[in-house]
Symmetry: C2
Subunit: 221 residues, 2 copies
DNA sequence: GACTCTATCTCGGTA
DNA sequence: TACCGAGGTAGAGTC
């Protein structure tokens, strides 16, 4: 139970969600403790050429390995020549802490909707609709409902998403008058234009400034 | 110029599109020939905890490495104890051949549009518009144009794409009446709702069945 | 270089 | 479990 690294001349066949074949070449085979397998070439970023996610059953047949998943996927690795093999126990990983993702931005804005527009009050975060949840549902000083789509980066698909929600929310006559708003740390010119075309306000917010406004418990990431 | 594998107790900091931190633990550090770096734990599929895509400048400061990209991203790896280190030249990879991706589904459906709807005939594959090509343009038994968006998995994005194409095609009055259709191996409930809202038919097709219908030259993948 | 779209996407959250 | 949305999406193709 550990990470196992094999450098070998090998050819590989995958049959599962699609079928794929790798001709013979020297590659790195990585097998992790959970049974996942990845075949790496010397390039192409972190993505392997072929892989199988855990859980798997790996069987060593000498000249070839078979990796079979319960979902019926199968990877066959033909080993023509093993060049190096190392392994080591890594143990449990304490895990990654992240800061600056969309969820944090949403938390901060839910706690301080005033930062988006003067007088705005929160009705609900993740307001559910049949086509997905609206990030923030608010009410403005005139008492109108405001649907808010939050993005780290405001692009066209954010405006499309907001359009879908508004379209859907308008089917519910009990909500009364509704308007849409796109809020992001930065908004691309194309997205600004499209938002305006659709009658939505857009607002850029400063993440660090928001953290300053937020109550202490949201500042301790 | 080769893949380099280091197993070490390390802690890692990333500052770039977001900020992230990994506390001290034993991990695998992989450096490929192109300069990309990946930090792996012993689990979690093929995705590393942290990474830097090529191109990068990697500097070894003894007790820590810094990896800097031209875009201003920075990864710092503090090495507390190096346990194992191996490397090997892998050489150029001949590359992966695939079968069963969206392009194949499109070929099969172009050859057998009847599988989508009775009486449908192909006008053109990859019908060009100013905002990108429509997967299939067909004509139905009533003589109306049908724009078809093909996906392996039908999700909301596919409906949005189809919406844009239809909007665009309607500007060309020479085409006459136009309707849209979403065709996929499976279609998610939200995508079905949105497609119906927009007045599009959606159809699920079976890939293996289609291969059976297709002429021999399309079956020899 | 910017834009568009696919992906064996992966990953986390939730009903 | 399936579904849904975010992602440091990555990567390929096109313009």
């Amino acid at each position: 139970m550990s990470v196992r690294l094999v450098i070998a001349r090998c050819s590989v066949d995958y049959a599962g969600r699609l079928t794929a074949h790798l001709p013979e070449a020297t590659r790195l085979i990585m097998v992790k403790a959970d049974g996942c397998v990845a075949i790496h070439a010397d390039g192409g970023a972190y993505k392997p050429l072929n892989w199988m996610n855990a859980p798997n059953t790996l069987t060593d047949h000498g000249d070839h390995w078979t990796v079979v998943s319960p979902k019926g996927e199968k990877l066959t690795i033909h080993l023509h020549e093993v060049i190096t093999e190392v392994g080591h126990e890594l143990g449990e990983d304490p895990g990654l802490t992240k800061d600056g993702v969309e969820a944090h931005l949403q938390e901060l804005l839910a706690a301080a909707p005033e930062a988006i527009e003067q007088g705005l009050t929160l009705v609900r975060r993740e307001y559910p609709t049949a086509i997905g949840p609206v990030d923030l549902l608010c009410r403005d000083t005139a008492g109108h409902v405001v649907a808010i789509e939050i993005k780290r980066r405001g692009e066209i698909d954010g405006v499309e998403q907001l359009t879908r929600y508004i379209e859907r929310l308008k089917l519910d006559s009990s909500l009364g008058e509704i308007r849409g708003m796109l809020v992001a740390q930065s908004i691309k010119p194309q997205a600004r234009v499209l938002a305006e075309d659709r009658g939505f306000r857009w607002v850029e917010v400063d993440y660090d400034e928001l953290r300053g406004l937020a109550p202490d418990d949201l500042r301790l990431f």
